[in-house]
Symmetry: none
Subunit: 281 residues, 2 copies
DNA sequence: ACCCAGTAGTAATTTTATTACATTTTTGAC
DNA sequence: GTCAAAAATGTAATAAAATTACTACTGGGT
């Protein structure tokens, strides 16, 4: 359990000074980590040994140990507001900003993900005669990635990144098939056409796109990804990474649905590629 | 800006003892945070003031401040010790685990990224006559994604995901060209062959792979991604997502290097695809 | 009123970090 | 190569911080 939530816990009995101390710590935990025990003791008007006893009482080796643990915990929570990249940024700042923006994008997608929908999509995949993935531009590589993951299952799956092939394949779609349309914006005309054509064939159309987009309205099931940014020229589109995470979720959920016997199959797939690799270092 | 990546940075000039110290710290950063300065100094066979000077030299108030910052950073990476997925997990637990594992993978990659190397790779890209991206299997989609991002620059770039085409192209590589090999494991025999062939042509070979792999040894520049897991059948490979983030960093750093006039070009590229989209909702 | 357990404080001690200064090493000009 | 300047490192002294040992309160229970 985290230190902070341990401190917030009202159940455990505390001494008078412990209560004062906890109140002060929770007021600004970040400040504590760079505070010597004397300053803290003074601020709460208690003695240094009392602070120390409090720390050891919580199971820490001492006050510095407590501070270290608190710092680690705060470092975790500290989710920077993903800021745009400035042309004056140093490389290491660019690295920080991009990774942070990616993490934020993942968290947003996770928070908005409808678990019930995941289940419905998995059912659709599992009962499909064949699965077709369509994406253009940056979404083409997401479609390729999804194909690679879904290839492990015994349902025929194919990704198409060419608009002509996509149209051709869509015309031959049947009601038992499943089409997955991938697009950040959900506004790519070509892909909307595909979704529309597929819908009239009766196939299940799944969208991996912005839930408020025209494409989303043409789909039977929509897994939302905040298309978000794309205003700034330098800041990269992190949403495609969130889409990949959703693909991971789908593939994993599907595998689990298939049951334990299927994990043997997955293992076989894994070993089948082993021979393409060098052993050792 | 991450402390660990600052330490990994090979660009900045370091003194002899600083090199020893950094090597020791990177060996087990977690151990450092609970180490007094005397123990650390002794372990590296340097004096305590040297350690202290190193910390203040990096911009910290002193050794304790350095430890605190390091702890906070490690806390970020260690947060969710991404646990394997169990067959009994509910969908919402699967979602949490996958997203958490992905975030952890990103943080780990970020912490191990050598900023100096990023710069070197960007220089290589910028001075290349042409850029070739090679990847197989799951890395094929990473190569496709990289192609899509690098297409915005005026250097000819192409991704190949077919082993025959890769070999053909590699034979016609020149010293002015840049080859980027993408592989999680760095042990795919076919890709090692490609890197080897390219190296003899004099082209700059960049690896986006496990730094301890055979492939890495064949590359001129290696951007490390912990290949990490891949033991569990259900848990997906999160490292490809980290690779995408690195691609983002490279593309952004390159764009920044090109200077402000280039941002106009990026803007033009952006508007050129706008006509493929529907307006409004 | 007295005792006892829990709690807190004072002061001494120990541990840890920093500073001041001397010495060595490295670097770059000639 | 030689020398001087600058940078880097070490030793020892000092300061800061944390911990321990010991003493003194506080408040319920008899």
């Amino acid at each position: 359990m985290s230190v902070l939530s341990q401190l917030r816990d009202t159940q455990t009995r505390r001494s008078k000074s412990a209560i004062k101390l906890i109140a002060y710590i929770l007021e600004d935990p970040t400040a504590i980590v760079s505070m010597p025990i004397a300053t803290l003791a003074n601020a709460v008007s208690i003695s240094e040994p009392t602070v120390n006893r409090f720390c050891t009482g919580m199971g820490f080796k001492g006050f510095p140990d407590f501070k270290l643990t608190l710092a680690a915990e705060l470092g975790r929570a500290e989710s920077g507001i993903a800021s745009d990249i400035e042309s004056s940024d140093s490389i290491s700042l660019v690295v920080s900003k991009i990774f942070e923006a990616t993490r934020v994008s993942l968290s947003n997608t996770q928070n908005h993900l409808d678990v019930g929908l995941i289940d419905q999509v998995v059912v659709a995949l599992d009962s499909a005669r064949s699965i077709v993935l369509c994406g253009l531009g940056a979404s083409a590589s997401v479609a390729m990635d999804a194909q690679h993951k879904l290839l492990r299952f015994d349902t025929p799956v194919v990704a198409h990144t060419d608009i002509i092939n996509q149209r051709m394949l869509t015309t031959s779609l049947r009601a038992e098939d499943c089409l997955i349309c991938i697009s950040y914006t959900g506004r790519t005309t070509a892909l909307c056409d595909i979704a529309d054509m597929a819908a009239s064939s009766g196939a299940t159309v799944v969208g991996l796109t912005d839930p408020d987009s025209p494409l989303a309205k043409l789909c039977d099931l929509v897994l939302g990804v905040d298309s978000g940014e794309d205003t700034d020229v330098y800041t990269p589109m992190t949403s495609r990474i969130a889409q990949l995470a959703i693909i991971d979720v789908l593939a994993t959920a599907w595998a689990l649905r298939k049951g334990p016997s299927f994990s043997k199959h997955l293992q076989r797939v894994k070993t089948s590629v082993a021979s393409t690799r060098l052993a050792g270092n």
